[in-house]
């Protein structure tokens, strides 16, 4: 494997769905021109963040090869996902890319023992010829998440705590020794005192098992804690992406600024900033249909040009920002709108 080979390469992907009826219906771009890549040589945790209805889950389905993009392509280890059709290839792909879902109690059948699912995974992916010989494989995967087969065997999902069962579902994902784990909101259902155990587990997997993780969330605080890079999504487009420190410590896109400011700070001293009046989004569909920047109707710095065409991707302070504010022509406009802001507060 060469140095600069990419594990995952998403190139200008777009997905559009049909909404509405035959008459008056239209197409809606749920994922709009998204590109990013994960290096094969350097495992990392990449966060996709954004509010609900921003296309995070559609993108996750694309990456799991559950949905084909309308245009653009996704390469995994240099191979286009669209060419993976044969059963053998699909199995091979599924072995390397594994999902972890939001609610662990939905992942496991309430009527069977939790380890059944682990044994099935091991047998189905050909890591063991039969259930009896799969025990060491399953046990090893459970050890990686700080559990053991003795602890979970003969137990039903309801007998385990939320943190434990989510760790079991991560262990299940680890059985086929994947290169990439796609975790869709893995901690939002887990109790506060156990949440950090799952989050720390992803860190450990990256550092010790060299597994890359795509972490999909709207919780920016845990995203900051574990990830290396982050992409902020808004209505299908990535509006800002770069290293997590750059994007969340000094956000540049007005939407990222709003998101970052909206994360409630766990210190009672910072209440004023959070309590500032905000403007909530209109119906999702109307924002999706908007021409130009999708944030224009809520943006405090909106200019005329924002409503005409999609903003360009610009390189600002070592991260990508999709906003007209950082084009050279707009510099004067910024000053003007900043001035207007002051006027409003008076």
């Amino acid at each position: 494997m060469s140095e600069n080979e990419k594990l995952l390469d998403v190139q200008n992907v777009m997905v559009s769905f049909h909404v509405g009826g035959w008459i008056g219906g239209g197409r809606l771009a749920a994922v709009n021109n998204v590109s990013f890549a994960l290096e094969a040589a350097k495992p990392e945790i990449f966060t996709l963040a954004g509010e609900s209805g921003s296309g995070k889950t559609t993108l996750a389905r694309l990456l799991l090869h559950d949905l084909d993009p309308t245009t653009g392509k996704i390469l995994f280890e240099g191979r286009d996902l669209a060419t993976i059709k044969k059963r053998k290839d699909v199995m091979e792909f599924m072995r390397k890319v594994q999902p972890v879902f939001q609610n662990p109690f939905d992942t496991f059948s309430p009527l069977s023992h939790v380890e059944d699912y682990l044994f099935d995974t091991a047998v189905n992916f050909g890591l063991a010829p039969n259930r009896r010989s799969a025990a060491p494989v399953v046990d090893e995967a459970l050890h990686q998440v700080g559990l053991s087969l003795d602890e979970v065997s003969q137990r039903y999902p309801h007998e385990l705590s939320g943190g434990q069962i989510q760790r079991v579902s991560v262990a299940r994902a680890l059985i086929p020794q994947p290169r990439l784990i796609l975790a869709d909101e893995p901690v939002s259902m887990v109790d506060a005192s156990l949440r950090m155990s799952i989050v720390n587990l992803f860190r450990k997997l990256r550092d010790e098992q060299e597994v890359s993780v795509i972490y999909i969330t709207h919780d920016l605080a845990t995203a900051y804690y574990i990830s290396d890079r982050i992409a902020i999504m808004l209505r299908g487009s990535v509006v800002e992406s770069g290293s997590v420190e750059a994007v969340l410590d000094r956000p540049r896109h007005p939407y990222t600024q709003l998101l970052q400011e909206s994360v409630p700070k766990p210190a009672a001293a910072d209440r004023e900033q959070w309590a500032k009046e905000i403007k909530l989004g209109a119906l999702e569909i109307t924002e999706y249909r908007q021409v130009g920047c999708k944030y224009a109707s809520r943006c405090p710095h909106v200019m005329d040009i924002c409503r005409t065409a999609d903003p360009p991707d610009l390189e600002v302070d070592g991260r990508m920002v999709k906003c007209y504010l950082y084009t050279n022509d707009a510099k004067q406009g910024v000053e003007r709108s900043a001035h207007l802001e002051d006027y409003k507060t008076i």
């Binding site: 954004g50 509010e51 609900s52 209805g53 705590s161 939320g162 943190g163 434990q164 109790d191 506060a192 005192s193 156990l194 949440r195 950090m196 155990s197 989050v199 720390n200 709207h218 919780d219 920016l220 605080a221 845990t222 900051y224 804690y225 969340l248 410590d249 709003l258 998101l259 970052q260 909206s262 994360v263 409630p264 700070k265 766990p266 210190a267 009672a268 001293a269 209440r271 959070w274 309590a275 009046e277 905000i278 909530l280 989004g281 119906l283 999702e284």
Partner: protein, 330 residues
């Protein structure tokens, strides 16, 4: 001025099947006082008894839930109510929704999916007040919704046409039609993302400030409490382990459980490794002896295994139930 006084409340779920009786001690000795005009936050993990406490407070006590001992007393503006000895009809007609209303987590299941929002408003007003003049009702509802910052158009939509945040705000609007003295909000923003959460909480706070009533905000998210609540009570395994004004809870937490919860909160700008508590939340059917936190407590002493710690007042506003505090005093 107190609105609600709960004293040493014990509410257990008791089941008896084939002669084997089991009891789950979901609320086990909770005392708390809610004042008029404040936001009181209750924080705790799932299965720590938060929802059971709310059920008893709101008078929804149905078997197998039974109140073993204790009292729940309200002082409303016009009348007083003893929640544990109230007539069911009286409760339904005069107290529920008029004095106590409830905002639930899953607003989708609160609103009837086959009726427009306005019909749901109509149902509520009809049940609790009667509907002599429909025109007046429509006008009142429109102004009510508008003062809460929602477009009046939402009234003519069906629940599935609204986004999650909008639905939750409609649920809050429904809960405040009669301007109740107490609004109980059980995880009102858990399923929402940060921006919408902020909007919904702003609305809840604005309503509270306007009508100077009381909000009992239940959520596991401490960061929300830090920004919204005036006082916070931390629950663990059916008991309140610490209670203080928000600023004190976050700046000088005294109970090891509270300290852990606050230290383990991830913050933007801090990447230092944060530990997680060992063990799992205890089962309430068979809670640990003595202090219920002792199996997971990093500072557990011998006395913690056998004796239940008493609630001690450190200051008039700050209560803690931990043997470390008594040790420090002796």
């Amino acid at each position: 001025m107190t609105l609600l006084q709960v004293e040493d409340l014990r509410a257990y779920y008791r089941t008896e099947v084939y002669g084997i009786s089991r009891s789950v001690r979901a609320v086990d000795g909770v005392s708390l006082v809610l004042n008029h005009n404040e936001i009181y936050g209750i924080a705790g993990e799932s299965s720590c008894g938060k929802t059971t406490l709310i059920k008893v407070i709101s008078g929804t006590i149905k078997p197998p839930l039974r109140v073993e001992s204790g009292s729940v007393r309200y002082n409303f503006k016009a009348f007083d109510v003893d929640m544990l000895n109230i007539d069911e009809d009286d409760l339904r007609l005069n107290v529920r929704w008029k004095e106590i209303s409830y905002v639930m987590q899953g607003s989708m299941s609160v609103l009837n999916p086959v009726r427009k929002i306005i019909r749901t408003f109509e149902d509520i007003v009809k049940t609790h007040q009667g509907l002599p003049d429909k025109k007046l009702f429509l006008e009142h509802t429109r102004t009510h919704v508008r003062t809460l910052g929602l477009p009046a158009d939402v009234l003519n939509l069906y629940p599935h046409q609204l986004s999650g945040g909008m639905r939750q705000r409609v649920a809050i609007a429904l809960a405040t039609v009669f301007h109740p003295s107490l609004i109980i909000a059980d995880e009102p923003t858990t399923a929402l993302d940060v921006v919408v959460q902020r909007g919904v909480l702003h609305m809840l706070k604005a309503i509270q400030e306007q009508s100077a009533n009381t909000v009992l905000l239940v959520t596991h998210d401490l960061a929300v409490h830090a920004n919204v609540a005036d006082r916070v009570g931390i629950m663990y395994a059916g008991r309140i382990v610490e209670e203080a004004p928000t600023r004190i809870i976050f700046n000088e937490p005294r109970h090891p459980y509270t300290q852990h919860l606050i230290q383990s909160l991830p913050v933007i700008g801090d990447k230092s490794p944060k530990a997680s508590l060992s063990g799992a939340p205890p089962s309430l059917a068979n809670p640990p002896s003595g202090c219920r936190f002792h199996p997971r407590c990093p500072m557990a002493m011998e006395i913690c295994l056998t004796e239940t710690p008493e609630m001690i007042r450190l200051t008039p506003q700050h209560r803690v139930a931990c043997h470390l505090m008594t040790g420090a005093r002796a």
